[in-house]
Symmetry: D2
Subunit: 389 residues, 4 copies
């Protein structure tokens, strides 16, 4: 394909954070996306990457990467990039408002500096777009914007069709902004899309999560809070779980998104001592009666093929969903790396036994791959195939 012939230079914003580190890892051997520039807070700008980052990946950083010099996250610094990935994570920053001053004081200076940078940068992500640099964002700021597609690549790549309208509206020719969803939402919405495609709308979901510590960044969760313990709360997370899926699972109607109507989600989010991989336990009720059996659900998940497979995107996993029959799977340590973290695993599919819910199952997603950086990369590949890049 022609887009493969042409290498694209890309930049990574927020390159020292945990999502930024994952971007860099995933792009290391990419056939046509070539890491060209890295950006971080102005505090780190001018330093070599190896001197500014606390690298916490189990794959060592390459020597070349370590020598890269960090730029400030300004559009002018990235004007020679064909596109930019942003790991600037407003999921942390956005929560500032609800912190008591006491809690705020427990943030590290680094976190606070980044927050400040975020408060600026997350709203300047759009500045990259306006400067005609396409940007793929992991922050939450534009997720609900009526002209910004919120794309989970194995679910709703068609939402990229809004890009021409977005460009028109904001006066851009080449630039645009595409958003990722929250890491926990992404894992949940993929099986949901498969089930709705086959059995019609889901009416109500009760979801419970066990989320990995890498989701909180570094230094993130103190060890005294997680050794011999779980934390039954993640600030702001339940709200995202209850409200982002409706846009992703909704439709695009010419120039506007239509959120899925009548989909109610109730969420409980907890933190457990797992490095990577969010577990989600889902109970759901379909609208149509009779509802499908566990066997039918299993088959539908197993057979699910999303548009991204047909498009032939390089990073697309063979299976968007891997279904387990073993009663005790999926498990984070064993299954998070299936298809390098691009596949979501589902298991424990069982009947609701005549209660309010029709079906229960467990699913696992790699929170920094398909739940963050990997989704952005796949979105970029799709955008390239569709001619937006």
């Amino acid at each position: 394909m022609s887009f493969l012939a042409k290498k694209k230079c890309e930049g990574v914003l927020g390159a020292t954070g945990s999502v930024g580190q994952r971007f860099i890892l995933l792009l290391a051997d990419h056939p046509f996306l070539v890491l060209h520039k890295i950006g971080a807070s102005s505090r780190s700008a001018g330093k070599k990457y190896k001197d500014a980052v606390k690298w916490k990946q189990s794959v060592p950083m390459s020597d070349e990467l370590g020598e890269l010099v960090i730029q400030a996250c300004k559009a002018t610094e990235f004007s020679d990039c064909d596109l930019v990935f942003s790991g600037l994570d407003s999921d942390v920053a956005g929560d500032i408002g609800i912190f008591t001053s006491n809690l705020l004081l427990s943030f590290s200076i680094m976190q606070l500096c980044e927050m400040y940078v975020f408060v600026i940068d997350q709203y300047t992500e759009i500045e990259f777009a306006k400067a005609e640099i396409p940007i793929f964002s992991n922050a939450k700021n534009y997720r609900k914007h009526p002209l910004v597609p919120l794309v989970v690549p194995t679910v709703n790549p068609s939402h990229l069709e809004i890009i021409p309208h977005q460009r028109r509206d904001l006066g851009m020719k080449k630039g645009f902004i595409v958003c990722n969803s929250n890491c926990a939402v992404i894992g949940i919405v993929i099986p949901l899309a498969a089930l709705q495609a086959k059995f019609g709308p889901v009416e109500e979901i009760e979801v419970f999560t066990e989320q990995a510590i890498s989701g909180a960044g570094y230094p993130g969760v103190p060890s005294l809070d997680i050794v011999d313990n779980v934390i039954p709360f993640i600030s702001g997370e339940e709200d995202k779980l209850e409200n982002e899926a409706q846009k992703i699972l909704g439709s695009i109607d010419g120039t506007a998104f239509q959120e899925q109507d009548g989909l109610r989600i109730g969420a409980t989010c907890t933190r457990v001592g797992v490095t990577d991989g969010h577990m989600a336990f889902v109970s759901l009720r379909f609208k149509n009666r009779p509802s499908p059996s566990p066997e039918q659900v299993t088959e539908a998940l197993r057979e699910y093929q999303s548009e991204v497979h047909k498009l032939g995107a390089y990073s697309a996993p063979k299976q968007a969903i891997r279904v387990f029959n073993e009663p005790d799977r999926p498990q984070p340590r064993l299954d998070r790396n299936i298809s390098n973290g691009y596949t979501v695993s589902v298991g424990r599919i069982r009947s609701g036994n005549g209660g309010h819910f029709d079906i229960r199952y467990a699913c696992l997603s790699h929170n920094t791959v398909i739940g963050a950086a990997g989704s952005s990369i796949l979105n970029a590949e799709i955008a390239a195939i569709k001619g937006y890049l």
Copy 2:
């Protein structure tokens, strides 16, 4: 009170197991229950306790205890005991039927020996009763028996009223058998009892658990399964959660129990790397409309006083339920030892936001204290106060 004046000699069956160890810890300083004999599998009989047990408690075993000689678990060996506590745990044994031969092979010989002993002993628990030795059981075998009370001490001590009928039916004068519920059920049913007492029947519950490794005994969960991991399945556990509460929350009507009608429970049970303390996350729907607000639920839980408090039982906690306002509590490591593990903690009380469920909350219970041994001890204290002992 007169029963306080009279010391009772008690025996502990299954004394080398994790529930048995907890019995011994809790009884160490008891004012009128005096440890007299300990029983374990025939393999351990005749050995000193210190030579037969793998003591895994964070409180050291006393020298006196270490020197106690283990008896076989036969009624004849315990005929000089006023009562017997049984930590024989058929929760493990009972699952044998569903194991594949491959899984079975992964059990230790010790576990299998115990299982065999269990298969015998759990059905011989009733032999202790018939031999006129009152027995307080943690096994599941008699929980559903129509003449055996299934008692959570801070919920339904009135169910002990069945004892005279049980004695009549089985031809006993002093003997009887009283059962505990499953460790996870106990933690859930206490707040539920408080809410139903105030707001009328609950119609449906969706419950999700994060259970401690001590619940699986020793050696129990292999470390390779729990470091950097969670296990999304506990064999047989969900079934107990879905089916035991109805009897506990039901009524006693003269000579028979009446299970609570129309209470549907859907359960998902997971294992996490916590030593002690089961977390349960509950979403529930009341029958009566309008349903209570989170504030009303909070107040009802806070004010809950069960019969056991009025009776003045020695081990009864001041509060059956401790309510937290902090958004990130209760947590296992910080809160499992409130009132020495006899209190259940509840937090994160919040509205169902107009969905199927009215209320959501998190609760924490110490799985080997109020979830097992402590419940039996409180049950014995109540039985003594009520004159059955």
Copy 3:
């Protein structure tokens, strides 16, 4: 004893930190030391304790404690206290000098504020003494001061004899300052004292530690650094291990200390995912030939009685040292709470097999009890018995 008859009002400085929290726990039921005032950084001053502290103990804080109002750590605020315990921990603060600016930025604002307070407060600890308030310090600032006793209560209580000279020198009548050693040093020095008392001087020690995360305070060690990991380095710790024991094990000669000559210590310190309890693995060489056998070493440790036992100090453990014969003990989770954390456990005593070292063993100490707050409390009890308080 007369000192028992008279209650002493005491204050705790650094009350919100992890050593401060442990002070408060240990003093909760103390027969004659009554918690009167609590101090913390000026940022917390004026707040209720429950609103300023992140309580991380497995025993809940009492309601009374929660309502106590925090004072600034100034001598004027504590003038009505008979003595003051200081949990101000310069072990953290003191390391500032070696941090790169990058590392420094990873400290939380709370930590940095405390550091700043420390930088002030640790050097103002002496101000309390000068204001005639006896102070027991956990900080490192005065440990090497020629007029300040560095006392491990089960080792060298006689070093308190310097107090009159200290008072004379600094112009105080009632005030004085007594220091604790570093938490890891304390655990090592107790068995060492027992062995030297019996077999004469030790010439060389190679020590390796596995230290608990509570030793780094809160938030302290990030969970991403300790889940499925160990950290082979603790900043500044090895230096303390190599240099503090010589003063503790030295003698007091009229008005001056004489450090133990010719005792060389080589140390390697690591951090592991244990909440409380430092393990130390010691290989040592005695000066005298022939060296004692493992059996002789075992007996000497078992029989060790320090002066504190003869003095009848309230918190003194029955045994300063508990010796294990089991090959796999002591272990942190099982043994750290022996005698409420005031006893040090030793096991794995074995021969050096003809190499440079004569003997190897493992020891375990509760790092915030005997390793910090508990030592200060025992030191205060001794000071009271000896008439300095």
Copy 4:
């Protein structure tokens, strides 16, 4: 090279164990070693691999592998293999003798069956050799045999020169047996070889280890022993550490090995909650005076090139040793996978400060790659290059 042109069919014995699983993972993409047959205990023989194994690797098993049928571990079943790798681990089996009956009972039936198989199989490994099937063993049984090379591939590949003599002695034409060392020994001996090559003999070593749970197999270490805990003892391990290095570091003199004389090793082995990666902390004394400086040691480790690099073995890491300057590295989670686990990492190189030891450092090795299966594979590659295969 010619040996690359010719594919070799290989078999893996003990294929269901943790070393066996690692063999299979490492051989999955091997250019000329093709997995042909897998063997396990007679209990598993005849089953599909996926039905017999508890796969605990973070990389999923392939579908093809899952369908492979397990053979009994008899030479006749593997007669069509060009070579055989054995993951039969007598490190476990060999310890039977020292277990008390009580401890023995805590082993799973699976473990005991395997032990029984081991007791047979480990002594039948030689039967494979006699049946003319070259065998690379991880068991300890033949490590000390005077005609069996104990080879760490980046240290002493020249020891394979004994093969002709071994063949002569045992009457074999093509068959032979080559042994791996213990997983902890391998990690220690590689830096040691580099240092001795440059600075002459080491006289004494004090080594302390923090070993991963995967080293104990599955189910292995119970989680109740490792959560919030460390275990200060690994049965039989210290003995291997103190006695295997001398043969590896010794010379081959025509037809016999000469162990390194005068190398004394003192070892302390502990188990920590890390999945993979053994840490070893080494203090050592050179024979020659003056001893090298830390800088010289660093340089010698960094420049070390072993014979295996010159031979061009396929799996040989670019660097046998990776040296870290960062004070807190290497760490298991971050560094165990360098060069896919074939490289040993060294850090914290520092002076002995005038004590008995000249130098201290920390090293990390992946216990199931370079510490077990990977070493065997490299040994096989070397044997092929040298014409023994």
